[in-house]
């Protein structure tokens, strides 16, 4: 693989919220490069800051939140400097689009579907409405709505959940954005629909060539959609690498815990693994490794000093003291061992196939 283009680059990002005169730090010094054309999955328990992180890319933080530190460079432009809607106009919905979790509520229930699509086309491309309608109908067909012409004047409640999410995707892609952020786009849908929507996004990505950030709390989905994975915990990225690296050779105990809780790996008769304890409060400073109190592999230093990122491979990094040369060898949980085994087989098969 030749060195990919970086389309968006966040550096040392800190996001804080004011809540009743107290300050909450939702994002703690995150740095992240997004490569053109890739699908990056961001996984982590809910509350870990996935949504907040991507909101900073479109300036959609609520009014009580602010970027306290860091920079976000997109196409040579410093996004953290943009303040007003006017300044965001050329980016939000035009170059970076977002698809939210709940298709049932993402559309205005009282406006016709067609208008909700053409609205964004007219806004960004400054086209007359007849032409906007043509584009919209085309989009509707592209996302798999049959009888688009007829359904153009329907209201959202006349659409099923899956259909609505298709419309939401159509709206998000209406202006051919460079980056599509999918914030848990299938969580509210049932499994078969989920698969269809994931397929759709993948096909559209091939066709339009946008870059996808795929947010999920479900590691299971990740394997099917992503090229790379970033694992988030308590406002930080704790490990990132290619899908293979994260699934078959995870290094951070938190990633281990996530893999152990995958239902597909659960042994029969044994209850599903759940990570004990709760994430730390974000209101106070976190000392050491945020995951330490819930981590049975935690070392003494985990409670005192925050670990740095250790490089595992040119694409794989993990933020855990376990990778320090001085650390004792830790025995990962069974699930991780199973995955490692699979990974090894997989590699063998592919290399054999190549030969």
């Amino acid at each position: 693989m030749d060195t990919p283009n970086i389309i968006l680059s966040a550096k040392d990002l800190v996001v804080k919220f004011r809540v009743r005169n107290k300050e909450l730090t939702a994002i703690r010094h995150i740095s992240l490069d997004l490569f053109e054309g890739e699908t990056l999955a961001i996984v982590g328990e809910s509350g870990s800051g996935k949504t907040v992180l991507t909101k900073t890319f479109t300036g959609m933080l609520e009014s009580n939140g602010r970027i306290d530190n860091g920079s976000i460079i997109f196409e040579g432009q410093e996004l953290t400097k943009l303040k007003t809607d006017k300044q965001w106009e050329t980016i939000r919905g035009a170059k970076i689009s977002t698809v939210f979790q709940d298709p049932m509520t993402s559309l205005n229930p009282l406006k016709r579907i067609g208008i909700q699509i053409t609205e964004v086309i007219e806004k960004h491309q400054k086209l007359p409405s007849a032409e906007a309608k043509k584009i919209a109908l085309n989009l509707m067909e592209r996302v798999g709505i049959k009888n688009a012409e007829q359904r153009f004047t329907d209201y959202p409640f006349q659409y099923s959940g899956g259909m609505r999410q298709r419309i939401v995707i159509a709206i998000a892609l209406a202006c051919k954005p460079r980056i599509l952020i999918c914030d848990e786009p299938t969580t509210a849908l049932d499994v078969t629909i989920q698969a269809q929507i994931l397929d759709l996004i993948r096909n559209l990505q091939r066709e339009y060539g946008f870059t996808t950030i795929y947010i999920t709390h479900d590691l299971g989905v990740v394997a099917n959609v992503a090229d790379r994975v970033a694992v988030m915990y308590a406002g930080q990225i704790v490990e990132y690498g290619t899908v293979r690296e994260i699934f078959y050779d995870p290094k951070h105990p938190y990633t281990w815990a996530l893999i152990s809780s995958l239902p597909t790996l659960a042994e029969k008769d044994k209850p599903l693994y759940a990570i004990p304890g709760t994430p730390p409060t974000l209101f106070s400073d976190i000392k050491g490794d945020a995951f330490a109190p819930r981590n049975r592999y935690a070392l003494k230093i985990d409670f005192e000093e925050e670990p740095p990122f250790y490089q595992v491979s040119p694409t794989h990094f993990a933020k855990t003291w376990l990778l320090d040369p001085r650390a004792p060898q830790a025995e990962p949980p069974d699930a991780v061992k199973i995955m490692r085994e699979r990974g090894r087989k997989n590699t063998k098969q592919t290399s054999e196939a190549q030969q």
Partner: protein, 505 residues
């Protein structure tokens, strides 16, 4: 109207009529069964004057009760006249003391379940029989709709009365359909006042007013002008001659008059000479509607505007002031804030704080009553729209619309305000009903001669027919408002209109 709506609208009209019917029946029944007949004389001046003439006093009471429908009443003299004819000598013979007619009267009327009593001084007998409440309710309905037709007038002294319809022009030269033999001369006519096409063919009759506006049908009391009569010059033809005179008579109310005097004959060609006056001031109904509709428009206009702005500036100064106003209005008694507002209006703005000071002709008279009536509505509408807006602002679709790249302003006006206005349509009937209820207070407070002032006073005067008629009107307006609200919602809310469409199939 879209086809699918027809069935729905018809169904709702039917439901509305049934509601009006049920409420009126209940009111009529309650008024008839709960107000003891002794109470109705409370406001009657006439009766006081008769206090030292016991016979007439007694007779007056019974005649009043009869006319109000409480009982059937008959005197010995009337009974004798019904047997022997009006002017027969036998009548006076029968009434002489010691006459056997006394025994006959007592026996025959007691047989008909009447109570027979003697007058205190003359000893003449009279008989009465209470009418059961249910019968009175039925009679109220039986008399409710009065249809005029060319065979209505029966005047023995005028056997040649022509019967039939003809086209004519009224005094102002407008075309009209008139008739002879009917009670009213003009049956259908056009003029410049709402609703422009008028008719006399069907009249609602809800009893007569008593003791105030004694003897006039209550609906006329409510609907006729007030204040000083308005005279104008009229030119018309009598017996081929053109005559010109000044009159305050409203020709459209002309009714058959059996005995014409000379003055009548100078003005009228036929027996239709008994008309109501035109007055300078609007009727009770007119005044109340003017004030009510203006205040409703103000409530919605001002209330919705400040509610929207408050939601836009949530937690800022404007919002806090608005919320303060809403809390103030809803926490202190209506009468108190109206009184405060009236003082303010009088001292600071120099407006009259009683309607009659400047009268119905002066625009200034209406300002304080109208504003006072809308104070509560403004608070209500502002509160609701602000609430709906804040709800909408936190909705996911707003987040998504923003992420599409729409500015705050675009999202606000294209999505949020529009969506928040739809539930507001639901609140319009409540606003109308609130205005009706508020009118009872404001009109009494400012002495506005409207229905809102009439209502409480008719209750304290035991003006039964008036209570019933006003309840009927208020119910009708409320039910109509609810009906309109439902239809409007069906039109503006696609979710409901589609459900209705399905239902209609």
């Amino acid at each position: 109207m879209r086809g699918f709506m027809k069935g729905y609208v018809l169904k709702r009209i039917l439901q509305s009529l049934v509601s009006v019917f049920l409420v009126s029946t209940l009111t009529v029944f309650l008024v008839f069964s709960c107000i003891p007949r002794q109470l109705v004389f409370k406001g009657d001046q006439m009766l006081q004057k008769l206090a030292n003439r016991p016979d007439e006093y007694q007779d007056y009471k019974f005649r009043t009760w009869e006319s109000l429908g409480y009982l059937d009443y008959i005197t010995m003299k009337e009974y004798a006249q019904s047997i022997y004819g009006n002017d027969s000598d036998q009548v006076s013979t029968a009434l002489q003391s010691g006459s056997s007619f006394y025994e006959r009267f007592r026996a025959e009327l007691q047989a008909k379940r009447y109570t027979v009593e003697a007058q205190p001084v003359t000893g003449y007998l009279y008989a009465y029989k209470d009418i059961p409440t249910m019968t009175r309710v039925l009679r109220w309905y039986a008399n409710l709709v009065q249809v005029d037709h060319p065979w209505r007038v029966k005047d023995p002294n005028n056997p040649d009365l022509k019967r039939g319809y003809y086209f004519t022009k009224d005094w102002s030269g407008m075309p009209a359909l008139a008739a002879s033999g009917t009670l009213y001369k003009y049956q259908i006519w056009i003029d410049g006042s709402f609703p422009f096409l008028h008719q006399n063919i069907i009249h609602l009759y809800m009893g007569r007013s008593y003791p105030t506006y004694d003897g006039i049908p209550v609906l006329e009391v409510i609907g006729m002008g007030q204040g000083r009569t308005a005279r104008r010059e009229v030119t018309t033809k009598v017996g081929g001659q053109e005559v010109t005179f000044y009159t305050s008579i409203d020709e459209h109310t002309l009714k058959y008059k059996p005995d014409l005097d000379r003055l009548d004959k100078n003005k009228f060609e036929d027996n239709y000479a008994d008309g109501n006056n035109i007055y300078q001031d609007p009727s009770m109904l007119g005044i109340s509607f003017r004030i009510g509709i203006m205040s409703l428009i103000l409530s919605l206009g001002i209330g919705l505007t400040i509610g929207v702005v408050a939601a836009m500036r949530k937690d800022k100064m404007f919002d806090k002031v608005t919320m303060g106003y809403i809390v103030f209005i809803s926490s202190i008694p209506t009468l108190l804030y109206i009184a405060l507002f009236a003082r303010f209006g009088m001292k600071i703005l120099g407006l009259p704080d009683k309607f009659p000071f400047l009268g119905a002709q002066n625009f200034l008279s209406y300002i304080l009553p109208t504003l006072s009536l809308s104070l509560g509505g403004i608070a209500g509408e502002a509160l609701w729209i602000r609430r709906y807006m804040v709800d909408q602002m936190n909705a996911d679709y707003v987040k998504f619309a923003r992420s599409k790249g729409l500015t705050q302003g675009e999202v606000f006006f294209r999505h949020i305000v529009r969506n928040a206005l739809i539930p507001i349509v639901h609140s319009i009937p409540m606003a109308v009903i609130g205005t009706l209820a508020g009118a009872l207070i404001t009109e009494s407070f400012y002495a506005v001669p409207g229905m809102g002032k009439m209502f409480p006073s008719s209750i304290s005067d035991y003006n039964n027919a008036m209570i019933i008629a006003l309840t009927f009107i208020f119910t009708f307006v409320s039910v109509f408002a609810i009906f309109l609200g439902d239809i409007l919602v069906t039109i503006v809310d696609p979710r409901i209109s589609l459900a209705a469409r399905k239902e209609a199939r």
